[in-house]
């Protein structure tokens, strides 16, 4: 092969300077710091152009629901001491998350709660007695999940994240614009089902918001034993799911971030993962002893970030709330607690034969036999 001198001398094309292509992964990453709109005392932080101010009426309603939610929560804990509830897992301190998630959704959206979401369910308008049925022990789920668009409170950790993905995908397939929001805690992000749920939602572009309330403890085990990730919000990127982290005790920020997440899902862009940094002020349940694994100073520090106090300060400063309004809301909360106390004094009536009612649509012959045995036992007891 010969080459001409000209060819040899031909100058090579000058390398063109090209901008590096945008890294699609970056869009999936959460902000390095949790989104915040209020400081710890409830003063508005400097405006951020991408954080539009939530509507004042909405924030006032959020305050109202948070106050009622906390009063409900306190009442439920008291009911355990009176033996009216078998157990109660409190969400005290997480009011901004519990109420913010509900306010971010429409009534026909679906919620997939865990056992710690009693406050959110009350905020959704479900009768508090029906919410507490599970914990009172007369049945597993006291409300009609189909009518309330709220799945039964889920005890097996993270399993509900996949249900949310499946329901959201099923709804979308049938032409409905439903969004499903799955609550999950920090500990449950270690369960395999969390990862399968987020992955399925992503692959099928299901309109789901995965809402992680990172309250720092899985019963007694701190977050450092759950993950080595910089934050739980970073778990989205591996599945191609955009994520955000937010100060979970900042009601404005919670509402803004969840609003964005829901809008993202409803617009057909697939799932969204939100991590809210918050704190479980009470023990895991009334049966737990938090003094064995965390110190008072830590709890004290979080008391200073109380979401209700922050929102109240902010709303008073803006003239949205005054003493009369605060007193009115407090009275409303007291009335709910008093009504709950009264109604929970009644002994629930559950007939033993109802045990056989909903195992299958039609009982098997084996269940009919067992039902007959129990019926005979009951009849004998009545005669005795």
């Amino acid at each position: 092969m010969t080459t001409t001198p000209q060819a040899v001398r031909r100058p090579s094309p000058r390398p063109r300077r090209r901008a590096a292509p945008p890294d699609p992964a970056r869009a999936l990453l959460p902000a390095a710091e949790p989104v915040r709109m209020l400081d710890e005392d409830g003063h508005r932080l400097p405006e951020q152009p991408d954080q539009p101010e939530p509507d004042a009426g909405m924030l006032r309603e959020m305050y109202r629901r948070m106050v009622i939610g906390r009063r409900f929560d306190t009442q439920a804990t008291a009911l355990t001491k009176q033996g009216r509830l078998a157990v109660y897992p409190s969400a005290r301190g997480q009011e901004a998350c519990q109420v913010g998630a509900v306010l971010a959704l429409r009534d026909n959206d679906w919620v997939f709660p865990t056992y710690r979401e009693s406050m959110a369910l009350v905020s959704r308008g479900i009768d508090p007695v029906e919410v507490l049925t599970l914990l009172r022990g007369d049945w597993h789920c006291g409300y009609d999940p189909g009518a309330r668009r709220t799945a039964p409170q889920c005890t097996p950790l993270a399993t509900q994240t996949i249900h949310a993905a499946g329901l959201a995908y099923g709804e979308a397939r049938q032409g409905r614009d439903t969004v499903a929001l799955a609550f999950i805690g920090d500990g449950a992000t270690s369960e395999g089902d969390f990862h399968e749920g987020v992955n399925f939602a992503a692959v099928f572009r299901a309109p789901v918001v995965f809402f992680v309330q990172n309250n720092r403890y899985a019963i007694s085990v701190p977050l450092s034993r759950q993950t080595a990730a910089p934050a739980l919000a970073y778990k989205g990127i591996g599945y191609g799911v955009p994520s955000e982290q937010v100060d979970g005790n900042d009601p404005l920020a919670v509402l803004a971030v969840l609003g964005r997440a829901v809008a993202h899902a409803r617009a057909g862009n697939g799932p969204y993962l939100v991590e809210a940094h918050t704190y479980r002020m009470e023990p895991h349940t009334n049966a737990d002893d938090a003094g064995r694994y965390r110190d008072d100073a830590e709890v004290e520090a979080w008391t200073g970030r109380d979401p209700i106090a922050r929102l109240e300060t902010y709303l008073r400063a803006g003239g949205v709330l005054d003493d009369a309004a605060v007193a009115g809301i407090a009275a409303e909360a007291e009335a709910l607690a008093a009504d709950l106390r009264t109604r929970m004094q009644a002994e629930p009536q559950v007939h033993p034969l109802s045990l056989f009612d909903h195992v299958f649509a039609e009982p098997t012959s084996q269940l009919r036999e067992q039902r007959e045995m129990v019926r005979a036992e009951l009849a004998a007891e009545e005669e005795a």
Partner: protein, 338 residues
């Protein structure tokens, strides 16, 4: 009538269900383009599109949980677990949610869903591919558990399962997938909860289900030479269980051997034996015996023939049914001292 196989009958049942009801969806691992590792979903994606028959991420818990959510939205998912042992990751979803949702919600929600599981051995499969896992599901209240042993039942039971308002664990004996029978599809056999007498006989009843049914039938044919006329009952559906047919048969014959491929201890075969003696004690001429797989982890392929209940082991059991009214305690070395 042309010969067809259980695999083709199952494929036809899925296709006909997809055609009959647009809420029906078929999904799982490799069920789309490939048509499933056993080809049970062969051609369904071509016929119905990738919105009706589709592949999922490789995650069984996810598949079952996703299907449950879809059922809550009004759809009727039919999912495939690739092999028996690969369904174990889904067990929490099945036991804690699929089986319980109707009960937890007092009937407000239901889970009309089918989980198809190729199960049991006899195909020379390497480990984790041959488990008899029906006992786990049968022991979980809220699940129906059915298993066809014939081509006609494969079609009919699967259509019934898809139409059922409750979750159905549909156990497919993989060693019977490609056995051919002269059957014209579609078929309409007895509903769930009805056992079938596959062979009438006077002397003793062999109760079997799934992969053990052809073995029991072969044993009954072989027993003719020894002068025994054996009846073979195919349970078809484990939950609900047909006590009536089984009881009537054993009361007629007075002797019973329960044959199951699964390991015997605390299994479905043990349950059947207990039910038979509870109902037939005064009609029995001998204890109810069980012939089952051994209580060992499923063996490597070269040893599976020793593990699987075969004709000889069944005939040995029949021989021990006290034909001369003398107790026969062979093999019962512990706790049998007179």
């Amino acid at each position: 009538m042309a010969p067809t196989t259980m695999a083709r009958a199952l494929n036809a049942a899925l296709g006909d269900a997809l055609a009959a009801d647009e809420r029906v969806l078929v999904f799982g691992e490799d069920v789309g383009k490939l048509g499933g590792v056993f080809r049970i979903t062969d051609g369904l994606q071509d016929r119905f599109g990738d919105q009706r028959c589709f592949d999922t991420p490789l995650a069984e818990s996810g598949i079952v949980g996703f299907a449950l959510g879809m059922a809550m939205s009004g759809l009727r998912p039919v999912v495939e677990m690739q092999f028996d042992a690969f369904a174990y990751p889904a067990f929490e979803q099945i036991a804690s949610h699929v089986a319980k949702l109707r009960n937890r919600t007092r009937g407000a929600l239901s889970v009309p869903m089918v989980i198809r599981i190729p199960y049991a051995g006899g195909i020379g499969g390497v480990e984790h591919h041959c488990d008899s896992s029906e006992g786990y599901y049968a022991h979980t209240p809220g699940l129906k558990v059915v298993t066809p042993a014939t081509v006609a039942d494969a079609y009919s039971l699967l259509r019934t399962a898809i139409d059922d308002p409750d979750p159905v664990i549909f156990m497919e004996p993989k060693k019977l997938y490609f056995a051919a029978e002269e059957v014209t599809l579609p078929t309409a056999t007895e509903p769930f909860g009805r056992a079938a007498v596959r062979r009438p006989g006077r002397d003793a009843t062999l109760v079997a289900y799934g992969p053990a049914v052809p073995v029991a039938l072969a044993a009954a044919r072989a027993a003719e030479e020894a002068g025994w006329d054996l009846e073979v009952v195919d349970c078809r559906s484990i939950v609900p269980f047909d006590d009536e047919t089984v009881t009537a048969s054993v009361r007629r014959t007075g002797r019973c051997v329960v044959v199951s491929e699964a390991q015997g201890f605390a299994g479905v075969g043990a349950e059947i034996a207990a039910r038979v003696q509870e109902r037939c004690f005064h009609w029995l001429h001998a204890p109810v015996l069980r012939v089952s797989g051994l209580d060992i982890p499923y063996p490597a392929p070269m040893l599976e023939h020793t593990h699987l209940p075969g004709v000889d082991r069944i005939l040995d059991a029949v021989e021990r049914l006290q034909w001369d009214d003398q107790p026969d305690r062979r093999w019962l070395t512990q706790g049998s001292a007179a």
